[in-house]
Symmetry: C2
Subunit: 192 residues, 2 copies
Amino acid sequence: MSQLLLNNIQKHIQLTDEEKYMLLSITIPKKLKKRQFLIQEGDVSKYSAFIITGCLRSYFVDSNGFEHILQFAIEDWWITDMMSYTSQKPGRLNIDALEDTELLLISREDQLALFEKCPKFEKYFRIITENGMVSNQQRLLDNLSLPAIERYKNFTKKYPLFLQRIPQLQIAAYLGITPEFLSKIRHQMLKD
Amino acid sequence: MSQLLLNNIQKHIQLTDEEKYMLLSITIPKKLKKRQFLIQEGDVSKYSAFIITGCLRSYFVDSNGFEHILQFAIEDWWITDMMSYTSQKPGRLNIDALEDTELLLISREDQLALFEKCPKFEKYFRIITENGMVSNQQRLLDNLSLPAIERYKNFTKKYPLFLQRIPQLQIAAYLGITPEFLSKIRHQMLKD
DNA sequence: CCTAACTCTTAATCTAGATTAAGATTTTTT
DNA sequence: AAAAAATCTTAATCTAGATTAAGAGTTAGG
């Protein structure tokens, strides 16, 4: 089960058995049922979560009660409220499970201690964070420059697996449109 | 002149004189006149730039020829096309100077070699990247959840110094609205 | 110092996407 | 298996912000 995490890490750095042990000794397994929360608004995100099976979303509830989704995450991905996790202050994001989910958690405290003991892990997380930043930037550019229909087409190309797994309601909240308008777009796409 | 960079770094990690030397021996000073490019679309971003004086912007030109600004950067900030810089593949961003500017450049190659020689620097850039990711996420949330007038108010609060320095045309391209609409918003704000 | 090139504003018209509402399906709970 | 809750669709109406156009103010280069 931890093998998925080790494999993910070993795409970027090589680990000795001792280093594997160092890592695994600080990971905490956790299960969430569908709709259970990992983090709620106002919490300090003590942990970053690596997903073994299942699917989570991180989202923000605006002053009108609308949800806006920052990230979907499935097997082999990390998710947390980065702002709260890095600062260890209360965050504004919620993270909950869209399916029954198995996670490995690592606390910020243990993570930083691990970096001190073994800088290789700092490299791994530096790379993960760089990649996350790039995909965030790409998404911001899409939101600034493309109409909703193009953003949806990009989404279907980039994340074809999500289409089967994630309700349209959620996809609309990720794209920044209403479910009604997404429905209209999909109808329109069938015609051409 | 390099003192600004050393101070910035020493907010996050402590450096020995030798480490300072290691860093400075790979930085390349560069000057740009207003309107000169650091990077153009299609280039590989060989360098990340730390700003000593002046102001730059990174932006994307969409298929209709409209510019969308990802980042403004002034003294004491880093800027690059992260996608291209980390992958060393051609990028889609332009970076140019809004004012006469002095920079210190570091190549991706030298940066990665520095990380190997001295993991402390990996820590520094991991922190910088984490912070960048957080502010990108915050901006994405603002774009998803707030109307233009609120985004402008947030901008004025977060970057009061930019208001004097950066033309409204550019600020509009950052907020994701037309300059005409920004003008309307500003007029509207005077009334209350 | 003058002209060309930006920059900002105002206003009329237009459109992508929101809102509201209602009905049809599907999923979940009891 | 029935009832309740969530999901998706369609359609009419509405609005935030775009587009177009024109003029005024400001900056910069020759």
